[in-house]
Structure formats: C-alpha cells, structure tokens
Symmetry: C2
Subunit: 192 residues, 2 copies
DNA sequence: AACCTCATGTAACGCGTTACATGATTGG
DNA sequence: CCAATCATGTAACGCGTTACATGAGGTT
C-alpha cells in the first residue's frame, strides 16, 4: 500500500510518471525505490480511485506528458495514511542474515573481510546523505528549517543518517572485537 | 534469493518446515520473516536443486515430520552466498516515507504524536532484543562468546540493537526539536 | 465440546523486478 | 551515426501475504 501513498505525497505538486521515477532515484532513494514500470500502472490505479486527475501536455521531445494532480479525495486519503499511526513493517535485512550464518565459513578472517566490505559500502552511502544534509545546513545557515515541508524532509534525512551511522558503528565495534580475538589467538599460539 | 539461503543456514542442523517457521517467529524475527506457506515450497525447491535431503519420521501428534538435512552441494552453495560480499539490498521503510510527507497534515502536534508512537513501538522491540542480549551475557559471564556460531548470532543481535537505538535516538532528537519549536511559537504569540 | 499445538500443504492475489517495445530530440 | 534523455508503456516472472484445507493428539 505504501507506494501509492508515496506517489500521492509527491503529487501535492503536479508531476508526470517520469518525474516521479527520478524522485525514487534521488530524494527518496534512502527509504524507498520503484521502477517506472511500476509507477505508470500505479498512477492509473490512483486515478481510477479518483485520487488523481490527469491532463496531457505536449512535450518538446518525446511523447505527450501526462501530468497528474492530486484531488481533494486524494488529499484526504493521504492524510488518513499519514495519521493512521507509524507504518512500521517487517524489515528484510539480508546482511544481518548473512552475519547470523557467517560461522558456516568457519574462518574469522572471512568475517573480517565481509564486515570491512559492509563498512566501505555504507561509508559511500553516508557520503551521499551527508552531502544532502550539508546542502540543507548551508541553505538555513545551520539552523533547523523553518518551512514545514523542508522540516519533514530533513527529519527523514536525519533518520537515514542515524541508521547509517549505527551500521558503521556496528562495523567498527565488530572489527574491534575481531581484532582483539585474533591478537589473543596469535599470542596463545606464538610463532616460533 | 535470500530466503533459500537462510533456510540452508538453519539446516546445518536437521529440521522440519514447521521448526523453521518457529525460527522466523523467534530468533530471526528482527531481520527476516517468512510464513510456513512460503517455507514448505521453498524446501522442496532446495531439494530439487540437490541442496537438501529429506527423510520422513513419524510424529507423536499430527502427520509425519519431513526432516530436511543439508547436502555437501548445499553447504557449498551456502558458503558461496556468504562469501559473495555483503547482501545489501534496497530497504523499503514506510515510516521514513511517512515522516518525509508528514507536512501534509499541516500540524506539528500530529508530527509529535506520530513520532511518540514510533518511539513506543521501538522501545517495545528493544526490550525484546535486549532480553536476548542479556541471556547471552549471562551465559558467557559478560564476555564475547567464544563459540563461533554464538559469536555470529550475537553479532547479528548487536546489529539489531544498534539499529533500534539509532531509531530511538532519532525519535528523541526529533521530539526535542519539536519541543523547542513549540516553545518558541508560544513565546512569539503569548497567551493574554 | 472447544481449543491449542503439531504438521503438512494449496490457491489466489498483490507487489516488485527484469526485459522489452516505441519514438522524438539533442549532443558528441 | 551513436548515445543519451525524455516519455510512454506491456509481459513474464518471482517473491510474499492471506486465506483456506486436513487431521491427530492433548488441554480446559
């Protein structure tokens, strides 16, 4: 159900399916993803519900743009979804599953290698989110954004940052434990 | 692809589909979930691949138990999956999406209410994970587990704890910002 | 008698991914 | 001329959810 409501959320400003596809590649990337092949049918479904209206506009290049706009019923539906309490679903986290079973490799060096790879990936993602944060900070001069829309978008970004920093903290903690363990193991069986 | 590999991971010790269903309700709940209706066909598929073997055993109550056991090919497949680098997929986080669009409610009191509800939910989950951590701590006497299997299961649990604490830290941070904002707003427009 | 736990499944549906189709314009 | 960007989609497939079916044995 969430994708549809995210589309309604974005469509408080009129947009085309193509535009929305870009949002999922940019602004929303850290909490949701959708391909355009999924977006186009979803928009039609929202229109059938009466939550969106559509007008066609010629485009300079390519086929006519279908610009969607939210209706009053759509706004009500969005508000219901937002006010209905937190939408916390079950998270499927392959990397924790992997950690959970990593003993099957029977080798703590392999564990170290995998955790280091995780750290590298998340550091790269953190750099992207941090750039977004720096942008907001520059625009507001270091204060919390006054504007309600920006305030909430920034709050969502802060959540992403907290989560990423927690992942990285776990990597550091785990690597430290692994380090201590390898150090201890090599002092137990010292080289000749 | 992950569910199948998680099943292989668990099946380093023989188990039935029913047993595995319980794991997803208990031990694996914080990073993966699967219904038994999904597990039974998945086990058959793994068997077709030659990664599992199955023997039937009579059960004291109910129909015969199908006890699955991993094969050498299955172990190789699991090791490949584990060693292939971190399995970091796209996360779909409805609650961040919700935060992102919460300005549509046009009311910071509603935002406060939602964030408080999130905090309550995550506090409850944290209590569960923390109990698991306390159990391990009690068993090892406060040290990191020596046993390789326990070490990795505990590492996975620590990750869950880090993530939850990050969520809660965000709630606290956000509620503090909201508080300051409401305080400022009421001093700008003081009651008569 | 009603209900819980053990133990197996099937069927229908919905959400998400990948691949493909079409076609105009702009830039190298 | 080739590639990228704009702009719309469809089709096939796979993963996940919900609901249902069956039936034995033990508990209240």
């Amino acid at each position: 159900m969430s994708l549809e409501h995210i589309l309604l959320g974005y469509l408080q400003k009129p947009a085309t399916g193509y535009d929305l596809g870009r949002e999922f590649a940019d602004g929303a990337a850290h909490f949701w993803h959708a391909e355009r092949s999924q977006i186009y049918p979803a928009l039609k479904k929202l229109q059938r519900h009466g939550w969106l209206e559509c007008r066609e506009e010629p485009s300079e290049r390519g086929p006519a743009r279908k610009v969607y706009e939210i209706t009053e019923a759509g706004r009500a539906e969005l508000r219901d979804w937002l006010a209905a309490g937190p939408h916390i679903g079950r998270e499927r986290l392959g990397y924790i599953a992997q950690t959970f079973f990593l003993d099957a490799l029977g080798d703590l060096d392999e564990t170290t290698r995998i955790v280091e790879a995780m750290r590298a990936r998340w550091r790269a993602t953190l750099a992207v989110l941090d750039a977004g944060r720096a942008e907001v900070m520059a625009a507001t001069g270091g204060a919390e954004p006054e504007d309600l829309e920006l305030f909430h978008r920034y709050a969502a970004l802060r959540m992403g940052l907290h989560q990423l920093r927690a992942k990285l903290a776990w990597c550091d903690e785990t690597l430290a434990i692994l380090d201590r363990r390898t150090a201890r193991a090599s002092s137990d069986t010292p080289e000749v």
